[in-house]
Amino acid sequence: MPTIRFSTSGREVHFPDGDEVNLLRVAIRNSCGIPFKCASGNCGTDRVRVDSGAENLDPPRKRERDRLAELLGEGYRLACQTYVRGDLTVTWDPDQVELGATGRVYDKLKQVWLAKDDTA
């Protein structure tokens, strides 16, 4: 039975052989402490470093490639975008927040905010 080790919080979760599980879903369901916000691959709050078991992960999806860019090469993945099918160990900074407030989400919101008159 494969095991996901959440080193930063000291939790371990087992799942059935042959299953493929979403890393953030497992973390939420078992209170493993990975910080998250949007869960859509936009904010990057749920980035984790893969210490071992990278070969048991699905290849990065488009949003993950777009968001993490060079961090992918440094062993980071977004938990919400990552599916696991074997043993895995991950760590993260428990105080981490979203990746820099740039990109199309921020740009879009900035456009919305700046387009409104400040009548306060």
Partner: protein, 247 residues
């Protein structure tokens, strides 16, 4: 009167309530996953799907307004879910319309509810009625657990086919890729909300009932797409049950 189920037992019961009713097993879903459909069928799907998922933030807004101030975690989840549907990135309905246009239909046709089947309009009405009239935890069970949590199991079978068999570009089918992952998390958070706030036997029982109704409604909606757009008219048997045959 029924007894209050423990959280693990209640979760098992919620998961079991969808068994045999999963929309991934409806005829249209199976034909899609097997590569048996054509692009014009996807266009008709998009013209219907818009009217089911397009108002999703509206549904959640009604549930939000029914949740008391003390239900902070539930309200935060609902607000986050609404924000993601509409504002966090490209509006989700715009991703759906992008796919629809790649299938040969237009934004105008997609947004015109006259192009949806009666069953689709019924599903939309059920979603509104449930969101407006039910206890917020029951409505969350119906819409988030019964409907939204099914999405990854449906789209994970359909998305690879769109890329590999039909040759869509990644950007054209981003709607599916996005929801495979995001609805995993929405579904899980939905379970947590229901487990926490459906805290009487009556609320648990009603939640289970509406999860069954929601799963039935999504199954019927998906089956109706096959009957309407894929089967030749003479093959449709009007006496055929629209709900799944449960073992």
């Amino acid at each position: 009167m029924a007894e209050l189920l423990s959280p693990p037992d209640f979760r098992n019961a919620l998961e079991h309530a969808m068994k045999g009713r999963e929309a991934k097993n409806a005829s249209f879903s199976q034909a899609w996953a097997n590569g048996e459909l054509e692009r014009h069928h996807f266009a008709r799907w998009a013209e219907n799907h818009y009217h089911y998922v397009g108002p999703f933030a509206d549904y959640l807004g009604y549930i939000y307004s029914n949740a008391p101030d003390s239900a902070t975690e539930a309200k935060d989840f609902l607000l986050q879910n609404m924000y993601e549907e509409e504002l966090s990135d490209i509006r989700h309905t715009d991703l759906l319309i992008r796919f629809a246009e790649a299938c040969g239909t237009t934004r105008e046709r997609v947004m015109d509810i006259d192009n949806a089947t009666a069953v689709t309009r019924g599903l939309q009405g059920w979603c509104y009625a449930t969101a407006i009239r039910e206890h917020f935890a029951v409505a969350a069970a119906a819409l988030v657990v019964g409907l939204e949590s099914q999405v990854p199991s449906i789209y994970s079978k359909q998305y690879p086919v769109l890329l590999e068999k039909y040759g869509f570009a990644e950007e054209e089918v981003e709607f599916f890729d996005l929801h495979i992952t995001s609805d995993e998390i929405h579904g899980e958070r939905g379970y947590q909300i229901v487990l926490q706030y459906a805290d009487t036997p009556e609320l648990q029982e009603r939640s289970l009932q509406l999860v069954r109704h929601g799963a039935d409604a999504r199954f019927a909606y998906t089956k109706a797409l096959y009957d309407t757009y894929v089967l030749p008219p003479e093959v449709v048997d009007p006496s055929s049950p629209i709900e799944p045959a449960l073992a």
